[in-house]
């Protein structure tokens, strides 16, 4: 006899792990994301009673897909006349789209990948890509997504609806991009996953520094992408980067709730299993030429994870990897992070020069970590009043309570 609790857990587990598979397979039949979503939701709804009655199926995903597809066929039959008039999701089978000259047909067949690439299509705004990915790939409700991003539910609902409308009106295809487009399109997908992670990891406002559910969803997504695109090294790079960052999350905030810097963290509390898993992945991702930006960031994170103390970190090595990173990804944020390594290798005065140059460029205006970094360097150079001014500026820009508390403490010491 199966307990109701077991069934409930099995359904929740299938929701978490198989939602994307079931939805993508159903969307193939419906060629409409809204109808597919509705049918998948219903399938999960009836699963509870059915599995209590008949037992948990050996392959829950297959059971859910069959059920959702059956419902979809009912809907399609019922609305046949109506549906004929609606623009449908474009599928490769449904359109005689000839591959462009020199392009190969894509070799990635999984429907979940089609779903991921549809959600992260460059014709959609980044915030819409994020919302759609959480809704359609992760199966989060609009309410949950709205809460995670601290915006109102109607705003999030409107965002999702608008994005879905664009998919159908502009005919964004339900397809894995052709080989020639793949690198750019994968980068867009990885950017979305990383954005989920960083939003969860350093919550931009509110009391909690880490919102675990977003972090875990991002890691789950990256794991899925590694399975779906085993040959794409950057995907491994991203997963490794997130695992390494997450491995330290328990030590980022002290017992009194205050923010701890890398140098203050208790390294014995870092999640060694996660670090080991990530290290193997980094090694893998580094095989072959020209590692990408996520892999290089993972290398830096791994160097920190392996160092016994902050001081004995291989800072010249870290600085070298930063130089590689800036070459493939020349953003001002990377340039700012590089100054931390620069200070450890060549001293705070050299680093301060680099920070001030960035400040003059105006490219990081309003970015709270610039004045915070500058303040720390000034403090180390014994220039107290200038450091205080920079801490005050950083404080004005920070929304997160834990970060603010840290900056206030530093300001008091300056």
């Amino acid at each position: 006899m199966i307990s109701p609790d077991d069934v409930g857990r099995a359904v929740a587990d299938a929701h978490r792990r198989e939602w994307a598979y079931v939805l993508a397979a159903t969307a193939r039949v419906t060629r409409d994301l809204d109808v597919a979503e509705e049918c998948v939701q219903e399938a999960y709804g009836v699963a509870l009673a059915a599995w209590r009655r008949d037992g948990i199926p050996r392959n829950p995903a297959a059971w859910l897909t069959t059920t959702a597809r059956r419902k979809a066929l009912d809907v399609l039959r019922r609305d046949q006349t109506l549906r004929a008039k609606l623009p449908l999701l474009v599928e490769p089978e449904a359109t005689p789209y000839a591959p462009l000259a020199g392009e190969e047909e894509s070799v990635l067949p999984d429907d979940r990948l089609r779903l991921v690439f549809t959600c992260c299509h460059p014709a959609l705004a980044r915030e819409a890509q994020v919302a759609l990915t959480l809704r359609l790939v992760c199966g989060l409700t609009t309410t949950e997504i709205a809460q995670a991003f601290l915006i109102s539910e109607p705003t999030m609902a409107a965002r999702v609806t608008r994005a879905k409308k664009k998919i159908s009106a502009a005919r964004i295809p339900f397809r894995v991009p052709a080989a020639a487009e793949l690198p750019d399109r994968i980068d867009a997908v990885l950017t979305v996953v990383h954005l989920l992670f960083t939003t969860g990891h350093a919550a931009p406002s509110g009391e909690l520094l880490v919102r675990d559910d977003l972090v875990e969803r991002a890691i789950d997504l990256a794991r899925l992408l590694v399975v779906l695109m085993p040959d794409e090294r950057e995907v491994r790079g991203l997963l490794a980067l997130m695992l390494l960052t997450h491995a330290r999350s328990a030590t980022r905030v002290g017992e009194d709730g205050r923010l701890l810097l890398l140098e203050e963290q208790d390294r014995s509390q870092w999640d060694r299993a996660a670090i080991d898993e990530a290290r193997a992945m980094v090694t893998d991702a580094l095989r072959g030429a020209r590692p990408g930006r996520f892999t290089l960031q993972a290398v830096i994170a791994a160097m920190h994870a392996e160092a016994p103390t902050y001081e004995t970190t291989d800072w010249p090595g870290v600085l070298q990897v930063y130089d590689l990173l800036i070459a493939v990804w020349p953003t001002p944020v990377v340039a700012l992070n590089r100054t931390v390594a620069l200070a450890m290798v060549h001293g705070p005065a050299v680093a301060l020069e680099a920070v001030e140059e960035l400040e003059r460029s105006g490219r990081l205006e309003g970015y709270r970590y610039l004045p915070a970094t500058k303040a720390d360097l000034l403090r180390r150079l014994g220039r107290g009043s200038e450091a205080a001014a920079a801490y005050r500026l950083a404080l004005e820009l920070a929304d997160n309570e834990v970060e603010r508390a840290f900056l206030r403490r530093r300001l008091a010491e300056a």
Binding site: A84, L100, A123, P177, E181
Partner: protein
């Protein structure tokens, strides 16, 4: 298949700045583009270059005024109507559209035929 309008937005060139060479270059670029549309597997259904916004006249609430409907640095200078399989094919075409002093906007055509 679906129809898309490619709108070309560019900084305008005044009559004084314009030279016969620029004109020749533009003609050559657009002739090449017409071939590229076919190479991409799409179809050109129409297209035109527009006279400059100095020649535009706007009407709002029956009020007739001189000039474009919206003043922008980069003005609508021409358009193409194409037929493509989906947005990816249409975007591949749009990326090739000559717009050296600006860029293009891609808009799906709304089907009002009622199916």
């Amino acid at each position: 298949m679906a129809e898309y309008l490619i709108l070309i937005y560019q900084a305008e060139v005044s009559d004084e700045e314009s030279t016969p060479e620029m004109w020749q270059q533009a003609i050559a670029a657009h002739s090449r583009f017409a071939e590229q549309i076919v190479e991409q597997g799409a179809t050109m259904l129409g297209g035109n270059a527009l006279q400059s916004t100095a020649t535009a006249t706007s009407v709002r609430d029956d009020l007739v005024t001189d000039g474009p409907f919206v003043e922008t640095k980069e003005a609508l200078g021409g358009y193409y109507l194409i037929e493509a399989a989906d947005i990816d094919q249409a975007l591949a075409v749009a990326k090739l559209c000559p717009a050296p002093r600006g860029g293009v906007e891609l808009r799906p055509i709304l089907d009002v035929s009622g199916g």
